[in-house]
Symmetry: C2
Subunit: 166 residues, 2 copies
DNA sequence: AACAACTTGCAAATGACTTGCAAAACCATG
DNA sequence: CATGGTTTTGCAAGTCATTTGCAAGTTGTT
């Protein structure tokens, strides 16, 4: 989602990254480009099978690893349960995430402050930062309001929303 | 590490949190207070067994969950591999982490910018943030310098260092 | 077309974490 | 400080997302 309209095709991106062009890879890239949400391997597998029925789940995993290394997809962790890996297309603006622990909604946001932390760190420590995992968790506005109930279960994954801080 | 010298004993903390005082819990809290690093369940189990040989790994897991809920320990995720949960005592200043992908060293740092992002988010989205997972990853100064080699393996966990940004 | 290098499907394996259950420990209460 | 309801523990057996070995199938290159 929120993709640059004039972006290279999946094939072009693969070749530019020096990776072989295979049907599973092209398909995974396209599925992530088209996705409105952050997808995990299982869900990508489900969607991929609709177009490439012979694809195997392990192929999905292996290729997500390849695409991640090649910088074509981004891996994310959400909510307090980091036991599942989610992915999104790398062809979008840098952004961060807030996840509602109650309803599972994901809010994407931008802010220059994280980049500031990053450059401060690099300048003061001499480190070379390659990746940042930034995720906030809590209750979304709706769930915070509806906090009259005592529930705390059903965390269904939902579509994302994107905002810009200040 | 970096603990307040006049902090309550593990027993006192447990009682204050309304939790039962048991040998495994007291021991886990003390081990985390004493630790120079961030520990996972397996390592805590290893250390705990030295003083309480009958303790079981599942007891370690169950109690870490209890202590986390009670706010007595903090759970962390490091490096690109979030498949392991690490813990540290909650009795310390709020801080964030940088992990070296090459040597595994963890650098702890403080910065008011993350809290700023947090309040901005709460103010502009009306959300109630309960938790933040902030971790930067890359090459530490030493490993970045030694980048002449082509290696990229052995990621041994190491002690942490704490710094203050600017 | 011919081949070496890389990928895939399939089935089996990993490994961190969880769970069911009966016995043991905790902590009011009397 | 004995009693007993409630919680916790040890042990053994799961769970489940992700990984891996291998033979067969593809890809990109000469
Ligand atoms: Mn996103
Ligand atoms: Mn720390
Ligand atoms: Zn919500
Ligand atoms: Zn290093």
């Amino acid at each position: 989602m929120n993709l640059n309209p004039s972006m290279p095709t999946p094939e072009e991106r693969l070749r530019a990254a020096g990776q072989r062009v295979t049907a599973p890879r092209v398909l995974l890239i396209r599925l992530l480009d088209e996705a409105e949400e952050h997808l995990d391997a299982e869900e990508l597998y489900r969607r991929a099978r609709r177009e490439l029925p012979s694809i195997n789940l392990s192929t999905v995993y292996r290729n997500l690893a390849v695409l991640k290394e090649a910088g074509l997809v981004e891996q994310r962790y959400f909510a307090r349960d980091h036991s599942r890996e989610y992915f999104e297309s790398a062809v979008q603006e840098e952004h961060y995430h807030f996840t509602c622990l109650s309803c599972g909604k994901v809010v994407e946001f931008e802010t220059p402050l994280i980049a500031k932390v990053r450059v401060d760190l690099e300048a003061q420590l001499g480190v070379d930062i390659r990746h940042a995992c930034i995720c906030f968790e809590g209750l979304c506005a709706e769930c915070a309001a509806a906090e009259k109930r005592t529930d705390a279960d059903g965390v269904a994954p939902q579509k994302s929303v994107r905002i810009q801080l200040s």
